[in-house]
């Protein structure tokens, strides 16, 4: 387990070292701030962070793959994966370490937006529990998205490809499901809404804790982390 801590620290260091993280972070925060001012902090509007949360979630579909793209692709292209995998660490530890490392950066990013929430609470009467739910939803969504992005990164040594695959997968699991849902009948709609990650996030955004959504987002995260470990492992039996 201490290996995971070591690898997490390393991943955090690598993430903060990369200029991409700062650019993506800055871009994300800039746009979040814009959405906040446009949709939330408007006199006369209902006091709710919901428009902000929804827009942030949509931003994340593209922002997270950009954060995760260097994670394994870098190791693949520079050859450092060889020294990592010939050290006495398991592939699961490697993936877990990277996952937690990136999540920590993500949490730091989210924490910066708390400023918006505090501002709103200062001006309006609003149950803070709803806001807390929203952030929990963003955390879980971020976890699921990070897992997908990490998986995409294990597939290729080219960062840009990892970002595209990750964004593609996430877009399929969000926007595409949304669009497909409207096409056919009831059963189809049930299936697609089940696979729509943003749909699951919706409840959190409203301030509701729906355990189905909770389990779904955690499961998606776990599933893609599992896939990522398998891809790494496959090097050992190819």
């Amino acid at each position: 387990m201490s290996n995971v801590v070591t690898l997490t620290r390393r991943e955090l260091q690598a993430t903060f070292f990369s200029p991409i993280a700062y650019v993506v972070g800055a871009g994300f925060l800039l746009l979040s701030g814009y959405f906040f001012l446009r949709d939330v902090l408007v006199p006369g509007n209902e006091a709710s962070m919901r428009p902000l949360f929804d827009n942030m979630a949509r931003l994340l579909v593209f922002a997270v793959p950009l954060l995760t793209m260097r994670s394994l692709s870098d190791e693949l292209s520079s050859g450092t994966l060889e020294t990592l995998m010939t050290a006495p660490v398991t592939d699961a530890q490697v993936i877990l370490g990277k996952f937690i490392g990136i999540m920590l950066f993500y949490v730091a990013l989210l924490a910066t937006t708390l400023l918006d929430a505090i501002l709103l609470l200062h001006y309006a009467e609003m149950p803070w529990q709803a806001v807390a739910m929203g952030y929990l939803g963003l955390l879980l969504l971020g976890a699921a998205f990070t897992a997908v992005g990490l998986f995409a990164s294990t597939l290729t040594r080219y960062q840009i490809l990892a970002a595209l695959i990750g964004a593609g997968l996430l877009a399929a699991l969000t926007f595409m499901m949304d669009y497909l849902g409207g096409l056919r009948g009831d059963l189809w709609r049930v299936i697609t809404s089940g696979m729509n990650l943003l749909g699951h996030f919706d409840d959190f955004s409203k301030g509701i804790l729906d355990t189905r959504a909770l389990v779904m987002l955690i499961s998606v995260a776990a599933f893609f982390l599992f896939l990522a470990v398998k891809v790494l492992e496959s090097r050992r039996w190819r």
Partner: protein
């Protein structure tokens, strides 16, 4: 310490490693010698657990590299060919990171860090980011990483590639010092290097082992010893007969060159220069040159690889 049996690795249709078998005893320094593309790096990657073999078995320190990979990896210190490092970390940070991955506690880390920095001459670079270091320094950082946990087995893939002559010499000295306490398997296509540092050599070409043994054994295998060349003045035929009767002489060839007799004396490996010189003095033959031509590993290598090529050609033609 390293036990390889019938190891094979196919990449698609091509056998990069073709049923090789060899052992490395504890404390030995063994050189893996071969032209580029011979299968050295592939074999090494299988031993270190980076990729699996297609068939065959390999054991390091008693652990099977495939089924007991984690335990095997603990016993190995590995320096890959291109020395991949995290360029954003400083040397101290990087070595500390690697030591932690090996499960070393703080006290052990501090002690070993100081030790490997000393062994690998990294004092000047200790606090610098790896991205700023020259190739020579990076190679030493890689070596320090391989040594940090004091492993039983060291596997070094082309450890002196890209270094300047001084650094190469230092590296070779270091490797020689490591033998005995550590078992070392190094790969190279630089023959003098293998000659200079290794107890035993394994020559590999096109995925197959073509020869193995100590440098002396290998020399005898192909060149059958060494030669002494002497230029003397006197009765050529008599010289030939008398020198041939010396102990350690296999054959004497005679050639005349403007009054001087040029004798090519093939020996069993014994250095007969002194005996020849003494005989010349006793018999009153004028001696103007005497020199020892040691069969070099280079000739052996080139011959052996050429033969391998011929064999492959014949097989290819037969199949066609």
């Amino acid at each position: 310490m390293i036990d390889v049996k019938d190891l094979t690795k196919y990449f698609g249709q091509r056998a990069a490693v073709d049923h090789i078998t060899f052992q490395v005893e504890p404390g030995q320094i063994v050189g893996f010698l071969g032209p580029n593309g011979a299968g050295k790096t592939t074999t090494i990657r299988i031993l270190t657990g980076y990729m699996p073999a297609t068939s065959g078995a390999a054991n390091v320190a008693g652990f099977d590299v495939f089924s007991q990979s984690l335990q095997a990896r603990r016993q190995i210190g590995y320096l890959p060919e291109n020395v991949p490092l995290y360029t954003d970390m400083r040397v101290r940070e990087y070595l500390d990171f690697r030591a932690k991955l090996r499960g070393m506690d703080r006290a052990a880390r501090q002690k070993r860090l100081a030790r490997v920095v000393e062994m690998c001459w990294l004092k000047d670079a200790f606090h610098r980011p790896i991205g700023q270091l020259s190739k020579g320094f990076r190679q030493r950082v890689g070596l320090a990483d391989a040594l940090i946990h004091d492993p039983k087995v060291l596997i070094l893939d082309e450890p002196t590639i890209g270094l300047d002559p001084t650094q190469i010499r230092e590296m070779r000295n270091l490797i020689r010092q490591l033998g005995g306490k550590h078992t070392v398997l190094l790969s190279s296509h630089i023959l003098p290097e293998v000659e200079a540092t290794c107890d035993r050599t394994i020559i590999i070409a096109a995925g197959k082992i073509v020869a193995q043994g100590t440098v002396e054994q290998l020399r005898h295998q192909i060149l059958g010893g060494s030669r002494v060349i002497a230029e003397l003045r006197g009765n050529g035929q008599q010289m030939q007969k008398e020198i041939a009767s010396l102990g350690g002489v296999k054959n004497v060839e005679l050639a005349e060159q403007d009054g001087w007799n040029r004798l090519l004396i093939e020996t069993t490996g014994k250095d007969v220069r002194e005996d020849v010189a003494q005989m010349a003095a006793r018999k009153g033959w004028n001696l103007r040159e005497i020199r020892l031509e040691v069969g070099s590993l280079e000739e052996f290598f080139v011959q052996v690889v050429a033969r391998q090529h011929e064999q492959q050609q014949r097989q290819a033609n037969a199949a066609a």
